[in-house]
Symmetry: C2
Subunit: 105 residues, 2 copies
DNA sequence: TGACTATATCAAAATATATTGATATAGTCT
DNA sequence: AGACTATATCAATATATTTTGATATAGTCA
């Protein structure tokens, strides 16, 4: 039996990072937020009104995305604008393709 | 503010399926199993011995992957062999790319 | 300063998920 | 049939995550 990855201590750290990345995205509101941000930065109130979420829940999920660096933020007056961090997304995307081979069609 | 996806009732079903797909993969043991199966079908005992998991835990995670159709199984005597269902993987992969734009490098 | 708006934080409750231990099922081989 | 191996199932427990409600912080503007 030839197995090419995932034995204990082999690629362990990258695999754990990839799992964490997937956990961050594997939540409906967070995936919607990422999807909403595809078209450019949005402030928190745009996001929670558009997605019909309680304000504090939107903040909570934004914090999780921000802590994981999938999004950046900038403050402008009272408002905080969030946007996708494409570099980090690319990084995790290539980790993911390392563990799952690419199943594109 | 122009937002191109994720409003209530728009792509709702595909988004929910994509979230479920991500949830299935966002677990260390299951991602390891998928990775292990990249090189071809394996029986359950190959998998649990290789990944150093309790047998029943491996069965449990295989069932989750199987129920979601990411893997197929065939029985040969006492052994059950699991393998990746590439068609389903491709399907969910394109859903995922629909919600996240493609961040490949 | 005071009223107002936007965002963040925190504790509690609700919900979901992973893991373990025990046991059942089902095929093989003598 | 009886002993054995491989796999699956189930209930109980442990753990993690999401959601809610209340409140804090911080900037704006009259």
């Amino acid at each position: 039996m030839k197995i090419s990855c995932c034995r204990k201590n082999e690629s362990t750290k990258e695999l754990a990072m990839t799992v964490d990345f997937l956990k961050v995205l594997a939540e409906e509101n967070r995936l919607k937020i990422m999807c909403t941000l595809r078209s450019g930065e949005k402030c928190v109130c745009d996001i929670w009104r558009f997605l019909d979420l309680p304000q504090n829940l939107a903040s909570h999920h934004l914090k999780i995305l921000k802590d994981f660096k999938l999004i950046d933020s900038r403050k402008d007056g009272l408002k905080v604008y969030y946007s996708i961090n494409s570099n980090e997304m690319s990084k995790y995307n290539s980790f993911l393709n390392h563990f799952l081979k690419s199943y594109e069609q």
